[in-house]
């Protein structure tokens, strides 16, 4: 089988897996990194949201062959290290607001939130309700309101 190499949460990893296997399964089934969740497999529910070179992506829609050796994949497990702390400010905001119910979608929600806040900051503006409305991540427990509050609070600490 072909070898693929990329950076995962700060470390170079190499996997032996077919070219077209999506990154989600490489992470979960091959590497045992289970923070990114399966919720649809078609880039709709966003439960697997992770970062590629700092931007939000959905690993269920990325064949592993599309990754370059220098590509940095960050999952929820690696998010705190990006700020050199035990918890990223957005994770702390999630705790402060007690957002999670079942918790299944929350790693993806947090990764999406961090990317959204960064994007808005790059546009030199404050996050608005209209920005929050663009988040597509599904939460079947319906934690949407606390997610909105947590993102606003987390954005101030980022």
């Amino acid at each position: 089988m072909p070898e693929h190499t990329f950076r995962l949460n700060g470390e170079q990893v190499t996997v032996d897996v077919a070219d077209d296997v999506r990154l989600l399964w490489v992470l979960r089934d091959v590497l045992g990194v289970t923070g990114p969740k399966y919720g649809c497999g078609i880039n709709v529910c966003k439960a697997c949201t992770s970062h590629l070179n700092g931007k939000a992506v959905n690993p269920c829609a990325i064949p592993v062959k599309n990754l370059k050796p220098s590509d940095e994949v960050t999952t929820i497990e690696g998010l705190p290290a990006t700020v050199g702390a035990d918890l990223h400010p957005m994770q702390q905001a999630w705790l402060d607001q007690d957002v999670a119910q079942c918790g299944y979608c929350q790693p993806g929600q947090i990764m999406a939130a961090v990317a959204l806040v960064r994007k808005v900051a790059e546009e030199s503006r404050e996050i608005t309700d209209a920005d929050l409305d663009t988040i597509r991540n599904v939460c079947r427990c319906g934690t949407y309101f606390r997610i909105r509050q947590a993102i606003k609070a987390g954005a101030e600490k980022m």
Binding site: V26, N58, W94, D98, R136, V138
Partner: protein, 795 residues
């Protein structure tokens, strides 16, 4: 007051002590229950209970789960829920079969408890830890609550449903913790050479009068018992609570936000490889023949292909390769159980099955029929289970709300004795009723047995939508007759595709059917009667359920019958109020049975600014619902103006926007107000979805929906930017049910607001069901391929 009949008295196990009075709980009528209780108002005499210390190397304290015996038989009543509701039935069913639950104190100063319930997001591990922390005076963070494996000796005491967890465990868990506390104090007295009465236990440390102290970890072995003993304990009075009733964050929050929380598919069970099932194109179709099993078995990563009861299971190195294999299979399918059926044909069957309302009254009346389409109760975590089946034993891991029934069913399916099947209950990624069933666990066991290997079986999202459980389609006809300002009678006829209650609740009712005050009627009708009531002074009320069984995969979706029944009722209350020239809020206020109900209604009207001037095309709606010994009210504001309804949303439904929701809830006593608030927030989102956007469309024997972008559960763009949950102060002093409570009033309030904003009362739900807002995915192959353009959508 119907005094003698209104008291369903339950005696706590054991004999009275202290003042000699019998210790009793009294389940009172709605009217009585509504009155603010005296401290300890449900208990006569001192709060003494019996528990156990078990023989063990470290301290293990125990109590019996289930403290109320069956209700008295033969109570005639037009309103059974006033005497006992579903929670009482479940609590009552528990007693004769109950086993022990145990609180264990460890030498590291932590305390552990295996909760015989499923945590699926409702926060019961947190509220349970709070009960123990309260009674034991140990910091919350030192309480470890895990989920118990299936324990057949508990029988119906291991069913998570009907918002019953806190109701049925509130006393037993505290009794066990109080027993542990007493033992720790006695052990400390010996260690410190002090009298027990001179000791205080605080924050996990026992201190004597001169300041010497010893931690509970150091006492864990000393407080242990060589023999099992029965002991009596006092429970802490409510006025001394410092944990119960205070807002606390979830005990699993850190695990959730760091990705460390483990769900079934995250477990590392040796050699359990990803497994998926190629499913039929129509509901419950079966495999005729497989044309290319060998070819698929040779695909990259694939290890096994096996025909199972529900389709063809494939096992591979990754789920991606399972998807490839499922898509590659060529199968000749046999028809399903609802072949050729569509929304229209089911509606026609429901119409034919509708129980008659009787002749129209001679007095004025309002009457309407409402339609509620199929809805999916998929959680975000799809149906999934790990199974390791060997020739002589099996081990299963899954989120299960009825693990004992699952264990027995799996054992029967595998032809193994039940004691050879171990069923572990994992943390669940949502349930909404779905995890009352164990469809994936049964399949995983079958696949593992046929393949002779451990499997990690997961349903694809498309499977979960199309072959998973659904909330049944239903119609509800309501007639209210009145004269002047008096309401003379309320009739509701609810006709529904059958709700599958075959997960254990049915057996509870079987056991108790003869004892219930509802006569000789079926399980579903019993459930219906016990969960529904008319909270208004509407004269003679009758509600009937009739079911059609069309071979659908159904189940109890969060709040079961209540959202639809309540939505229909509250809309008709609005119509009646309008007919009488009354304000919808004032009308409800004046007709509600009791002060406790009026308090939540008044609260939302006040906090939500009922009656404020609003632009054309926008409006407020208000609704009330009581169940599970709890009361709730919702006020919402909705924007139905064209610019809002038609705002562009990619691959989604915009529609009217609920711009504000205010929800007031009185559960009697909220163990964790912060958790209760979270549950009500979720209920509001469910209510919005059920009124405005979410349904399944049945065509030619299958549901068209196969994705979260087909099944429109509330998304951020549908959620109210302004949301306020108000947890009312303690009233009854006993916790009522909460996890499902808020859906009904929320759904109804959104519907009422929509009717007032548009000037047309909605009668078919969700309101957008008539418009198909997506292109249905193919049914063969049954699952879509994953996209490859993920890098193009980075942000």
């Amino acid at each position: 007051m119907i005094e003698p009949l209104s008291w369903v008295v339950a005696q706590v196990r054991g004999q009275a002590e202290g003042d000699g009075a019998e210790r009793r709980f009294a389940y009172m009528t709605g009217a009585e229950r509504s009155a603010p209780a005296e401290p300890g108002g449900h208990v006569v005499g001192r709060r003494r209970f019996l528990g156990y210390v078990l023989a063990a190397p470290t301290l293990v304290a125990a109590a019996e789960l289930g403290t109320a015996p069956p209700a008295e038989a033969g109570i005639p009543s037009p309103e059974p829920t006033e005497l006992l509701d579903l929670n009482d039935v479940m609590t009552a069913a528990a007693l004769p079969t109950s086993g022990l639950i145990t609180v264990e104190v460890h030498t590291d100063g932590t305390v552990s408890f295996a909760l015989p319930r499923a945590e699926v997001g409702q926060g019961i591990t947190t509220s349970t830890a709070m009960l123990i922390a309260e009674e034991l005076d140990v910091p919350l963070e030192r309480i470890r609550v895990s989920l118990a494996d299936a324990r057949p000796e508990l029988l119906f005491n291991q069913l998570t449903g009907a918002s019953n967890t806190t109701v049925s465990t509130y006393h037993p868990i505290r009794v066990a913790a109080a027993v542990a506390r007493g033992r720790l104090l006695r052990a400390a007295a010996i260690e410190l050479g002090a009298a027990v009465t001179d000791l205080t236990l605080q924050a996990g440390v026992v201190t004597d009068l001169v300041g010497r102290s010893i931690g509970i970890g150091a006492l864990a072995e000393k407080a242990a018992s060589m023999t099992t003993q029965q002991v009596s304990v006092d429970l802490k009075p409510r006025e001394k609570f410092t944990v119960i009733g205070t807002p606390r964050g979830r005990v699993d929050a850190l695990a959730a936000v760091t990705g460390r929380k483990k769900f079934a598919m995250d477990l590392d069970v040796p050699d359990a490889r990803p497994t998926m099932v190629c499913r039929p194109p129509t509901i419950n179709g079966t495999v005729g023949s497989v044309a290319n099993a060998d070819e698929v078995r040779a695909l990259p990563g694939v290890t096994d292909v096996a025909v199972i009861s529900t389709g063809v299971a494939v096992r591979a190195e990754t789920f991606g390769q399972c998807i490839d294999a499922v898509r590659a299979l060529r199968i000749d399918w046999r028809p399903g159980t609802v072949e050729g059926e569509s929304d229209e044909s089911v509606l026609a069957d429901l119409a034919a099955a509708e129980p008659p309302l009787g002749l129209p009254p001679l007095t004025p009346y309002v009457e309407e029929k409402f339609t509620f389409h199929f809805r999916g109760n998929s959680a975000l975590e799809p149906n999934s289970a790990v199974a390791d089946v060997r020739s002589d034993r099996a081990e299963i891991w899954a989120s299960l709300k009825s693990p004992i029934v699952a264990k027995e069913a799996i054992a029967a399916s595998l032809r193994l004795p039940p004691q050879s099947v171990t069923v572990h209950v994992t943390e669940g990624g949502g349930s909404f009723g779905r995890k009352l069933f164990f469809d994936a666990a049964l399949e995983a066991a079958e696949a593992s047995q046929k393949m002779g290997k451990p499997v990690k079986l997961m349903w694809h999202r498309a499977d979960d939508c199309r072959q998973g459980r659904a909330h049944p389609m239903a119609t509800s006809r309501v007639r209210i007759d009145y004269l002047g300002s008096t309401v003379l009678g309320y009739k509701q006829r609810h006709t529904s595709v059958a709700t599958d209650l075959g997960h254990g609740l049915g057996e509870v009712f079987t056991a108790l059917a003869a004892k219930l005050p509802v006569g000789d009627i079926g399980f579903s009708e019993t459930f219906f009667q016990l969960s529904q009531s008319t909270p208004y002074e509407f004269g003679l009320s009758t509600r009937l359920l009739n079911e059609t069984d069309k071979g659908f995969n159904t189940g109890s979706m969060r709040n079961v019958y209540s959202p639809d029944v309540t939505c229909a009722r509250e809309l008709m209350v609005d119509r009646l109020a309008a007919r009488m020239g009354r304000d919808p809020y004032r009308f409800r206020h004046d007709f509600l049975h009791d002060d406790r109900s009026r308090a939540v209604l008044d609260k939302v009207a006040d906090a939500g600014g009922w009656g404020r001037a609003m632009p054309a095309g926008t409006a407020q709606g208000i609704a009330f619902h009581s169940e599970y010994h709890s009361v709730s009210a919702a006020l919402v504001e909705i924007d139905c103006r064209p610019e809002t309804v038609n705002r562009p949303i990619r691959d989604g439904v915009a529609g009217p926007r609920v711009t504000k929701a205010v929800f007031a809830v009185d559960v009697g006593l909220a163990v964790n107000p912060r958790g209760l608030e979270a549950q009500m927030m979720g209920c509001v989102m469910d209510g919005i979805a059920q009124t405005l956007t979410s349904s399944l469309h049945l065509r030619e024997g299958y549901f068209l929906e196969a994705s979260w972008d087909n099944y429109f559960y509330t998304r951020q763009w549908n959620s109210p930017p302004e949301l306020r949950i108000i947890v009312m102060p303690t009233t009854t002093g006993e916790p009522g049910g909460a996890g499902e409570l808020g859906v009904a009033a929320s759904m109804a309030a959104v519907a009422c607001a929509y009717g007032r904003a548009t000037g047309t009362m909605p009668t078919s739900f969700p309101i957008n069901h008539g418009t198909l807002s997506f292109t249905p995915k193919p049914t063969v192959p049954p699952v879509p391929q994953s996209p490859t353009d993920g890098l193009d959508h980075a942000y």
